[in-house]
């Protein structure tokens, strides 16, 4: 601790260089934290596993654009271990216009079975019964209500694109899911079936709530085997795997983000190492003086490493602080972009901040390692002769 003032004085010996280096740590660290948050969201624990909901999702093996016969839902319901089954159809369409700001998920569903399968959801405004009783009623996520400033009883008009029909809905209930993803709108599929008879008999996905984890694993295979040789083969997976599937449509996003993150860390490391190498080279004579005064090789090593660590920590702590302070505004600004789904689920994960701190310490120690070893090992007489 006695050497701390000396370390601090050395860190800010060349103020402009120190500030630029600190800046070059702050900005990449913000990017890393954002990437870490995204990765963490992709790796979120399966709600079906954590809350004992054991939901699985069945879709056409070819893809989401191919529908399944509605009769499949009844066949699945009869399987041992299936507790409740509900059907989803992606409606799409547009609300007001096609801008990203007005985009949100819209599904035609079976209201009574939906609340059975998603029994972890809470109705926060209105009531499920009101929705069941109004064929033109809708169930809206809490986040969407806030985003558009809607209230119970408000009218929502959706203009179909996949389905050539315009539907007018009344908000009857508001839901909130415990994991915070409450940004979709659900309405009764009977409304769509009446308006568009060709829609009848087809479902996009079938969601099954299983009795337990073992049943969820078994049923995933059993359902796919049951329909394997039919004209509509299926693919069944857990809720998390299904949601991950959307992301994987973009390619191996996790690998891409991890690779980019690694490159960013390497770049910070090079910048910090360059600063430390310059700093140590300018002070060869001073280090020789300190050793003449009796500073041991280990103390010199610690001084130089302490300096690089301190420099990195200044950048790291400022970067993490900025990330924490700027998190809410950033989240709000992303809500109205195509990344709104990601933005809604964004949370300040402590493990992401910890990762940022670990990267900072790693950069601090490794950037100073080579200059520190060189400084501590150089013969004193050679250092004293050095003209810097």
């Amino acid at each position: 601790m006695k050497l701390l003032p000396l370390i601090l004085k050395n860190v800010f010996r060349k103020k402009a260089r120190a500030i630029l280096t600190i800046g070059s740590i702050i900005l990449p660290l913000l990017v890393i934290c954002l990437m870490g948050t995204f990765l963490r969201l992709l790796d979120r624990p399966d709600p079906a596993e954590t809350r004992g909901m054991f939901r699985i999702v069945t879709r056409h093996k070819v893809g989401l654009a191919s529908p399944l016969p509605m009769s499949y839902a009844e066949k699945i319901r009869q399987l041992d271990g299936a507790f409740a089954v509900t059907k989803f159809n992606w409606f799409g369409g547009k609300y007001i216009d096609n801008s990203a700001r007005n985009f949100f998920a819209r599904f035609a569903v079976e209201p009574e079975t939906l609340v059975q399968v998603f029994d972890d959801a809470t109705i926060t405004q209105g009531s499920a019964t009101d929705w069941f009783n109004d064929r033109a009623g809708s169930l809206v996520g809490e986040d969407l209500m806030k985003k558009f400033g809607w209230r119970i009883g408000d009218q929502i008009v959706l203009i179909g694109d996949i389905y050539p029909v315009t539907i007018q809905l009344t908000i009857r209930a508001v839901y909130q899911l415990p994991d915070g993803d409450s940004d979709a709108l659900f309405f009764n599929r009977e409304y769509l079936e009446e308006a568009l008879p060709s829609f009848q008999g087809k479902v996009g996905t079938i969601w099954t709530k299983c009795r337990d984890g073992a049943a969820a694993t078994r049923l995933s295979d059993e359902i796919d085997q049951m329909f394997e040789n039919s004209p509509y083969p299926t693919k069944t997976e857990t809720e998390k795997a299904f949601q991950m599937g959307f992301v994987s449509m973009l390619g191996n996003v996790k690998l891409l983000i991890t690779s980019l993150g690694t490159i960013v860390v390497f770049v910070i490391l090079l910048i910090a190492a360059n600063t430390m190498a310059l700093s140590a080279r300018e002070r060869i004579r001073e280090i020789a003086l300190l050793r003449t005064l009796g500073f041991s090789r280990v103390t010199i090593l610690m001084l130089t490493l302490g300096e690089s660590l301190m420099l990195a920590l200044f950048g790291g702590i400022l970067g993490l602080g900025l990330f924490v302070v700027g998190f809410r505004p950033l989240k709000a600004s992303l809500i109205n972009t195509p990344l709104s789904g990601f933005a809604t689920a964004m949370t300040l994960f402590p493990e992401v901040l910890l990762l940022g701190l670990v990267i900072t310490i790693f950069v601090g120690l490794f950037s100073g390692l080579v200059p520190a070893i060189q400084a501590s090992m150089r013969p004193i007489t050679e250092g004293l002769r050095h003209i810097g």
Binding site: L3, R13, I380
Partner: protein, 250 residues
């Protein structure tokens, strides 16, 4: 006669310059007694600074022994030698070697950071050292705010702050004007006579050598002459010193 403080026995020091081997000190024997003020003189490349560095423990001989007090410093490990230097050696350089981002106080405090002394004790020691060199009122000044003479006096305060056994000075007046050089020499003389510090000074300056109690002349790594200055009258001293000065490359 006082006790021997430094005994140098058969010291050989060689340097390699590419394939060429250069013998800087060749089987040198040399003894310094407690309380002596020794001036090492000789032409450039005669091995003065090398000998000073070896005695100060910042360089190692190829062969031979160096004893300082009871310690055989030529046999100490790197870490032990660093610890030994911190307790026994005060080093004064020609170019002062003050750290520019530290104040005079902080520069003088540096060697004390290696001791178990607390902050207030360190402050007391630094204040005493700076008052001895007459710079108690310049504590918060940075080196760039001091004159060359003042910088060298801060460097002397740093050398004496741990109360070392030995003071080693490598051309301490080499970068100073005549007035500042005189002040530094008076200070060194005082440290020797009043504070009983054993001092070895490498110099080309006859005036600096005249302050010493003993003149040692090296040439090509061999001890050529070893004269107690008190045995020299002024004419003989001038003659002896002039030999050294003439030997200095222009």
């Amino acid at each position: 006669m006082t006790n021997p403080l430094i005994i140098v026995e058969n010291i050989v020091k060689k340097y390699h310059r590419g394939a060429e081997e250069l013998t800087v000190l060749n089987s040198l024997n040399f003894t310094v007694y407690e309380g002596e003020f020794v001036a090492l003189m000789g032409p450039s490349g005669s091995g003065k600074t090398t000998l000073l560095n070896l005695i100060a423990g910042i360089d190692r001989p190829n062969s031979g022994y160096i004893f300082v007090g009871k310690d055989e410093i030529s046999a100490l490990s790197e870490d032990k030698l660093a610890e030994w230097r911190s307790r026994h050696i005060g080093f004064i350089f020609q170019t002062y070697n003050l750290i520019p981002v530290l104040t005079a106080f902080e520069n003088v405090e540096l060697p004390l950071l290696l001791t178990p002394l607390g902050k207030s004790e360190r402050r007391k020691h630094v204040e005493i050292a700076l008052s001895i060199v007459g710079l108690a009122d310049r504590m918060s000044h940075y080196p760039r705010q001091l004159s060359g003479g003042q910088e060298q006096r801060v460097a002397i305060a740093r050398a004496i702050v741990t109360d070392p056994t030995l003071l080693m000075a490598d051309e301490p007046t080499g970068d100073l004007d005549a007035k500042s050089a005189e002040e530094v020499l008076i200070l060194l003389e005082r440290l020797n006579s009043e504070f009983k510090k054993t001092i070895i000074i490498v110099t080309h300056d006859p005036k600096a050598a005249a302050r010493a109690s003993r003149l040692v002349r090296l040439e090509k790594g061999i001890l050529k002459e070893d004269i107690p200055t008190e045995s020299l009258d002024s004419a003989r001293f001038a003659e002896a010193a002039s030999v050294f000065v003439e030997a200095r490359p222009k």
